[in-house]
Amino acid sequence: MKLARVGALAAAAVIAFSACTTAPGTTSAPSGSGGTAAQPDVCKDKKGTSSSEVHIYSALPRQGSNKAQTDAMVESIKEIIDGTQVGDFTIKYTDLDDSSAAAGGDWDGAVAQANATTAANDPDAMVFIGHFNSGAAKLTIPILNNACLVMISPANTYPGLTTAVEGVTEPGEPDSYYPNGYRNYTRVISTDNKQGGAGAAWAKELGATKAYVLDDTQVYGKGLARSWALSAQELGIEVISGGTSEGFDAKATDYNALAQKIKDSGADFIYIGSITGQNTGKLWKDLRAAMPDIGIMSGDGVFEKAWYDGAGDAGNGTYLTFGGVGPNEQTSEAGKQWVADFKEAHNGEDPPVYGIYGAAAAQVAVDALNRAAVTNDRWEVLKAVFETKDFESYLGTFSVKPDGDVTLAEATGYQVVDSWPPEFEKVLAAPD
């Protein structure tokens, strides 16, 4: 075998240049060791220098198509965190922007890493809230892992950041993000594969038999569409968009021919994995024009008013899933209060769906700082975050699991009925 020879060559080479450090992607890294494991070397001496302040940073796309979402999140984070007293310390909050004009107002890898470096280099930084996009988190988790700084994401739904999922995540994930072997990343939202699975089950209930799956060729959209398609196939729905999902080009000027193709294929259901900014208004209009009665389902990437403004009437009838519980369906008293407060401050406007998740991330941070044995020691704060148990947040009660995911697993289903916001249909059972 050729491979064996190559391997032998490689072995020889390695003997010549003996190994001394571990590399990213080391397969032997322990997984899910959370905060309870022994203190890693990088976490020693991570005590802040200020005697009166600890710092919390957030890094979210503050421009571009997600601005409405992040405005609500930052507003809420600020209110919960900024100036709050934890032990002997006052929290100082800094709102960083991980997007750039060069990236068309979306997240920019270099900027996201600069944000993370800024926080990592500030010895008083104890918690990093972010990012909005999983793609950005993939780049910054290792930086913060090296600095022993805990990251709490309000919105990342890509499963590979915390768990390996067959057919969806890449080989080596998630360990490749944690070069020092311990976990420093958690999120207060459930993942795409759960939302996709719940959505597929709902579609089955709605009578879908032959589905055409589209994605926006982005990390989130493609991942969600693929999860949905794989679950749908398991449930016996035929997926006829070659393989799993077909990409649509956000730069295209129209989708009439694509719509025609779907119509001719005989599909009775369409699933779209996309974020609003990917020309979704036009896509919906063209699909609806060709197929006025077909069922269309999409995920929380388009669960915002901006999408409906773009799609207009063509958005009516669309089933929307949300990988969590939408603001108006919050069951906890605190959650209801949060929504009521937001509406009062914004002339009765409904909060964007992720707003309350930003607030919950901030709550987890403050709670951990309060519980930490040493308020301004990164390792102690990290441990406290991972020890979050039965925590009563705006999102209801949850615990943080050792792999960084939370015990919140619900997804909810909505349907757009002639106006925004969409009407709540049901809580979707997420498959395991």
């Binding site: 000027t253 021919a257 208004g281 207009g312």
Partner: protein
């Protein structure tokens, strides 16, 4: 013919006509001052935003009686065309005319700068997401409802509308360029601005008029776009601009009929690629065609005409 193929052709043709309207603006300007006016697509984008704003302001909605609707749309068309023409000629005055004698690169860079400025104006004006507009022209299949054919092929009023606007504009433009005195001045300037100047043509005025015409076409295309595609967004100019410029090159830049033919061919390529290949590869195919055309037939399908200086 196979109904599916026919349907794809109809879709391709109606898109192609909109590309053609934008492409004419590129081809006119390139023909006369050899400048790829990068900002042209963004003028078109602002035109579509203005048209949208006016349509909403005038209350043009579905269900109004047809005369009122047609009247109001005509008024919106005139205002939009006047506005984009003014914008385009102002851009020429500010960003291109001072660079008339600079190296070629200078006005091109200036055009790219202008394009970014206009995109950001659109972004600030309407925000980052698509802005939708309801179907005013009914999206009803003419073939089955009016002619009573028994077919699955759909040809809507909207699609007829794009043809009804584009084809008369093209005829008027061809007439203007080939028959009028001003058109003659344009052709003379295109061939050799210095000699044209010596022969008594006011070169600056002629170029300004070219920009006015190109701006008017962009405005008209903006309105057609908002009524046909029912949506606009700040980076629409970039999307359409690339397609439209490709159309212009495809047909032979500087050649008016060529731009229309190029637009139609490109519309068809787009539609067939979306329909029979995969939508995610369409842009790659379009640019592949563009590169192939430039390599194998740099003068385009119909050759360069307005300015014959390949």
């Amino acid at each position: 013919m196979d109904e599916q193929i026919l349907q794809t052709i109809i879709i391709g043709l109606s898109n192609g006509l909109i590309y053609a309207l934008v492409a004419l603006g590129y081809t006119l300007v390139y023909g006369i001052i050899e400048l790829i006016n990068f900002a042209h697509g963004d003028v078109f984008m602002l035109g579509s935003m203005l048209a949208l704003t006016l349509l909403v302001a005038f209350g043009v909605t579905t269900g109004a009686d047809i005369l009122t609707t047609v009247g109001l749309i005509s008024i919106v068309l005139l205002i939009t065309m006047a506005a984009t023409a003014t914008l385009n000629v102002s851009i020429e005055r500010v960003a291109y005319r001072p660079l008339r004698h600079a190296p070629r690169l200078a006005p091109l860079i200036s055009a790219i700068g202008m394009s970014f400025v206009l995109q950001n104006v659109g972004l600030l004006w309407k925000g980052p997401a698509n802005v939708g507009y309801p179907d005013v022209i009914p999206n009803i299949n003419v073939l089955t409802t009016v002619f009573g054919f028994d077919t699955n092929v759909s040809l809507s009023y909207k699609q007829l509308f794009t043809a009804a606007v584009t084809i008369p504009l093209l005829i008027a433009l061809t007439w203007f360029v080939s028959k009028t005195r001003q058109g003659k001045a344009m052709r003379a300037t295109a061939q050799d601005p210095d000699t044209a100047g010596l022969m008594g043509v006011d070169v600056n005025r002629t170029i300004a008029i070219t920009f006015i015409i190109a701006g008017m076409l962009a405005g008209a295309a903006g309105l057609v776009q908002i009524l046909y595609n029912n949506t606009t967004v700040w980076n629409l100019g970039f999307r359409f601009g690339l397609n439209a410029f490709t159309s212009a090159v495809l047909g032979g830049i500087g050649n008016l009929q060529g731009a229309v033919l190029g637009g139609i061919v490109l519309g068809l390529i787009n539609a067939f690629s979306d329909r029979y290949l995969s939508a995610q590869w369409t842009n790659a195919i379009v640019f592949g065609v563009l590169i192939a055309i430039l390599v194998f037939r740099p003068t385009g399908l119909l050759g360069q005409q307005l300015a014959d200086r390949a």
